[in-house]
């Protein structure tokens, strides 16, 4: 079944030409960004702190360093998607 035949509410948000889809995508990206902040710089650090204190490494780097770099990259990618899919189409 082609994408065009899916009901409106089930279609993936890939064409942000109409304001409603853009608004929805903006909301989703905003929530993801907040989630990245909570996990990256907020209480999410507790998930890895003990491992980091014990000298744990991720990808050959100290765990906390990788954690910070990773979540920062996630935030930057979200901003990039927001620019490409939402902001660019706003007047």
């Amino acid at each position: 079944m082609g994408m065009g035949r899916l009901p409106e509410n089930l279609r993936p948000v890939t064409t942000p030409s109409d304001p409603t889809s853009r608004k929805r995508l903006h909301g989703i990206l905003g929530a993801l960004f907040l989630g990245a902040l909570l996990l990256g710089a907020g209480p999410g650090i507790f998930l890895i702190n003990d491992y980091a204190a014990a000298g744990g490494m991720i990808l050959g780097m100290p765990a906390l360093y990788t954690w910070a770099v990773g979540w920062c990259a996630v935030e930057a990618v979200i901003v990039l998607i927001a620019y490409l899919k939402v902001w660019r189409h706003e007047s």
Binding site: F33, A36, L37, L38, G40, A41, G42, P43, G44, I45, F46, N49, D50, A52, A53, A54, G55, M57, G60, M61, P62, A63, L64, Y65, A68, V69, W71, C72, A73, E75, A76, I78, V79, L80, A82, Y83, W87, R88, E90, S91
Partner: protein, 548 residues
Amino acid sequence: MVDLGRTPLVVLALYMVMLLVLGVMGYLRSKTSEEDYYLAGRGQGVLVTVLTIMATFFSSAAMMGIPGLIYRDGTAFLFFALNLPVSGAIIYLLGSRIRRMGQRRGYVTPADMIADYYGGSRVLRLLVALVGFLYVIPYIVMQIKAGGYLAQRLFPDAEVLTLLGRDYGAFELGTIALSILTMAYVLVGGMRSVAWTDVIQGILLLTGMLVAGLATVVALGGVGAYFEELTKLPAAARSMPGVSGAWSPWKLLTICIFASLATMIQPGQWMRYYAAKSTQTLKRSALIFAVVLPGCFLFGVMVVALGAHALYPPAMVDGVLMPHPAIGVSPGEFDQVVVAMLQEHVPLLLGATLGTIAVAVILVSVMAASMSTADSNLHALSAVLTRDVYDRFVRPQASERERAWFGRGVIVVATLLSLWLVGLGKSNADFQPLALIGSLMFVAIAFSCQLLPLALDCLFLRRGTPTGAIAGMISGIMVVFLFTPFPTLIFGEDITATWTGITRTLGRLFDIGFCGFVVNATVFALVSRFTEKLPSDHVKKFAAEMES
């Protein structure tokens, strides 16, 4: 330490001449109007906008204060970098609305817009100007101080000059040179000169950050060896809350959200949104900022600071956390980590000539970081005091020419005041407000954060009342004031002991600006509920212009 000889002096001289040339070019292109002096005719394109926003954002804190905190505390403070994409997003989300209204209604300062929305409130205009002042002065002080530190490092054998019974060593001469030069090109060319010099300074700064990180990794034997070295960090430096115990996740989270917002709505940045050519300019600037800056931070200066922690670990001396003697000799000298590391390792790595030139260029980029923030803040303060105070309350009948001269006078007085405060801090070790660049930065940002509830209400919510806004701001400013050492200096330790205990606890848990924001926003909302609303047609008209 490797002797850099006269190379830094030559590089510094070239850099300073280039700034002055740009200052004069800005002057030649300028028109006589106030709007041109403060906003460069509202026509700045993407390159200038993004680099001037970055350069204003990256103060001496970026090259000294923040690496200093990472050197002191280890990986815990790395999470500060997560505020950079937040700040980038703010450039578009808030900046585009601010720009649109500025363009339509001819606003120049933040207070122009806020006071206009809240029915032309004169009290509110003064409060917004006060917040601008409270943000700008510590920030200028911080930049000038960094110039002094840098001069001390670059010219350790400089002779002490005695003038009118006072001694002027490398620190004092460095602060004076940075202040005078910055003041000169801001005075001459206004926003155009500031923005153009920011372009050069921004490029220097970004390059300097990355080269510094690269040099450190190479000096330690490559990427693998660098991270191997980091495994030797003590447990406290590898985890939260860091060696000094200062960084809880909640504190870092509130810094990443509220300090970012506060920094991006401080007067200098706010005026850059007005000055942008179009919304498209701000969209692109937001993207570049959010993607480029975290890379420069995480793979640049932060790498240097962490490497330094592994090589030259700080140690407790008589109960006080002190930098390694190779970095500094007092708790206030953690800030010198990038400078000390580069001076030590780069010449050994690249050879005497090339290494010395590279170090000199990177050290000049540290100076660029300071100057690019000092110039923007001086320029913004001039606009704020001229338009929001002098023009409204002192001499409303003043001509544009008179206002321009008053604005230039503000720049001179603010520079001299900041220079005097730096001298006071240097000569009095007990004068704690000037102790560490990093802590000074958070106090300044906290004051700016008190503009946030009003900005959010004015740009998005539009439910507040003028009385609510005034009550909220006064409460927020007072709360932030309680976090500074000033209440103890003014009222004495006995009277303020309880407050100091509370603020210390809160300050350990959260960002100071966030604490002020919570009180500010709560008071704003409560008072707005019971006080006279703005006329609905005024609010609707404002909203329509903003949304269209």
